[in-house]
Amino acid sequence: MKLSLTKVVNGCRLGKIKNLGKTRDHTMDIPGCLLYTKTGSAPHLTHHTLRNIHGVPAMAQLTLSSLAEQHEVLTEYKEGVGKFIGMPESLLYCSLHDPVSPCPAGYVTNKSVSVWSVAGRMEMTVSKFMAIQQALQPDWFQCLSDGEVSCKEAASIKRVRKSVDRSLLFLDNCLRLQEESEVLQKSVIIGVIEGGDVMEERLRSARETAKRPVGGFLLDGFQGNPTTLETRLCLLSSVTAELPEDKPRLISGIGRPDEVLKCIERGVDLFESFFPYQVTERGGALTFSFDYQLNPEEILLQQNGTQEEIKCVDQIKKMEITGCNQEITSFEINLKEKMYREDFNPLVRGCSCYCCKNHTRAYIHHLLVTNELLAGVLLMMHNFEHYFGFFHSIREALKNDKLAQLKELIHRQAS
């Protein structure tokens, strides 16, 4: 695979990754995101409804936590997880954990890392981990790593140092096993940068990982709430400065549009798309504007003034949704609200998604109130399309030197 940069603007890298996949003929745009899946399927969506979405990324994210228990099944299947899940044409990246479900701390040893699935805890040694990857046959996979310091509050420097040491040890062992397997050589290992909030350790992790023959880098441990990211942005810049330019940089656990932009400015290329899923689960629809060409009045018109309504009515609530312990953001509207009961507008005026072309806010509200499954389906379709459209607008803004306008627009909408 080959990463070529078209330009770098304000730290943001615009470019393409070419010759991807087993057939070496797939391409991915950066900055970009990956399609979020649960147990190998986009949440709520079948092939038909997924196909209705415009701009679905070329690469999907699978999580080892949801697929590890299929090890035996996939070994017998022999043809790889892509075909098993009915996505043979998609590029696949296998991450260790699910960004939505928090992982309990205390389950990493010098020899193993635990992943958490619906069925419970699965302990992964290097050999078991690589055996599963051999059965999965993904295009890229996150190397086994110790990311626990991000689950803990105020990890000791000793613990942080250990996370870097262990992750490097796991990486070297995985690389060695990869050399011994023809099947595994067809997959690309993504090295994981650890180091918590300790600059020295972050730099060490970056420099050492960069010495290994990995295909790209995952910046782990930057997830959290908006305030924790702010304090970590400086670390992020320092880390990416140590990484080679011609390999992609992924980040886990970052999804909010304002945070995405901040990370792109600090050299990050690829993101997950779990954020639109979280919005869907709380009955929300993404409505933030990324159309930096429009003037502010036009933007309000497009959103039917709801952003203003939200600020007036003060609707920020904490919601406990399974695995989505997140506050409602200012980038979305909450369709459960009574005000949408007779609103026959689409979720977002001008949106080209299946939901906006065929249904109204009133209908979605009805589906949510009556607890109907279709609510999740339609909201997921809209939220994915909206989010993928956002990434497209980032690339366009970079191409046309309009990044400042887009940034200003997004930050104006952040609460």
Partner: protein
């Protein structure tokens, strides 16, 4: 629904059904319903979308499966979201964005509505006319009641709904009431048998002369992980399907069977991704529609009795292993098994 039935209105009910073929042995018919939102071939199975939604599948998916009529439930919709809102949304069609036909159980939304017969009591089947609210009781024992029912059948209504027969009554009672009803109803009007949806029941009741069916069973059982197949059903959550890499049914043309294996669906059913349920809902609706289509073709091609024998053979291993009630019901209309 009050109103006096005048002579003119009694004779002006639209002829919505055209008979295309009839089985020469049984009472099975193939036909076409001419309805406001398009033609519907009969016999037809109508999936049930109770709250203005077909349970997790989009109207586009439902259309792609070939569905041209489904059920809405006005009782539920009357509560949520309520009739005023539905009117503002351009009717139920507008609200849920369904371009084809909708059948509901009352006339509030300007749909085609059929005379609804109410419940089976100890005495028999009670018919109620919306024209003048009069009730007629049909019971096999009393000739007076039969005469009343004959009066009913002379009423000029678009069609007849046979209801109240999917409760706790025995299958033996059930088929006899259906047979009695169809024997008394005029041939040139559709017979809608409410709440019937198991495959065997559908095939038998087509033989007894019914044209339209609805049931929550296929969509409900999908959400419990059960896939309908010609031999019964597959409980895909069971471990036996963990490494079964074939589709639910290799003969099925639905998107689920085209793309996915039993093993994958098994894995997905054990996850918290609702997509598993949608895959099965799509398949089960496809199964019902494909079954009705096959039934219809066999009637048109004058081989319905052979179709029934094949169907029972596949479902029960041998036509002679078919449940007694079904054997009796089929025999009553001239179809013998084995």
């Amino acid at each position: 629904m009050a109103g006096v039935a005048t002579q003119a209105s009694l004779e002006s009910a639209p002829r919505i059904m055209r008979l295309v073929a009839e089985c020469s042995r049984s009472r099975a018919r193939a036909g076409e319903l001419r309805l406001p939102h398009g033609t519907v071939a009969t016999p037809v199975f109508m999936p049930v979308g109770t709250q203005a939604t077909m349970k997790g599948i989009t109207t586009e998916q439902l259309d792609a499966l070939g569905c041209r009529i489904c059920l809405g439930n006005t009782y539920h919709l009357g509560l949520r979201p309520g009739p005023e809102l539905i009117q503002k949304a351009n009717g139920l069609h507008g609200f849920m964005n369904w371009p084809h036909n909708l059948l509901t159980d009352s006339g509030g939304f300007q749909m085609v509505s059929l005379v609804s017969l109410s419940e089976v009591t100890e005495e028999g089947v009670r018919f109620r006319s919306p024209y003048d609210g009069s009730e007629t009781l049909l019971s096999p024992e009393k000739s007076v009641q039969i005469q009343n029912a004959l009066e009913m059948t002379k009423r000029d209504v678009p069609g007849f709904a046979i209801g109240g027969l999917s409760g706790g009554e025995s299958k033996s009672q059930f088929w006899r009431m259906v047979a009695l009803s169809t024997s008394r109803l005029p041939k040139d009007k559709p017979r809608y048998l409410m709440g019937v949806g198991y495959a065997t029941d559908l095939v038998v009741c087509v033989a007894l002369g019914c044209d339209m069916f609805d049931c929550v069973f296929p969509t409900r059982t999908a959400r419990f992980g059960s896939a309908l197949v010609p031999t019964g059903n597959l409980q895909l959550r069971r471990k036996v399907f963990e490494k079964d890499f074939g589709p639910i049914n290799p003969e099925c043309t639905c998107p689920t069977c085209q793309k996915h294996s039993r093993a994958f669906l098994h894995a997905l059913l054990h996850s918290d991704n609702t997509a598993a349920l949608h895959h099965l809902t799509v398949h089960n609706i496809a199964y019902q529609l494909q079954l009705m289509s096959a039934v219809r073709t066999s009637i048109v091609e004058k081989r319905f009795p052979d179709f029934v024998r094949d169907f029972m053979g596949t479902m029960y291993g041998d036509p002679t292993l078919c449940p007694t009630w079904a054997t009796d019901a089929l025999a009553s209309v001239g179809i013998t098994l084995g």
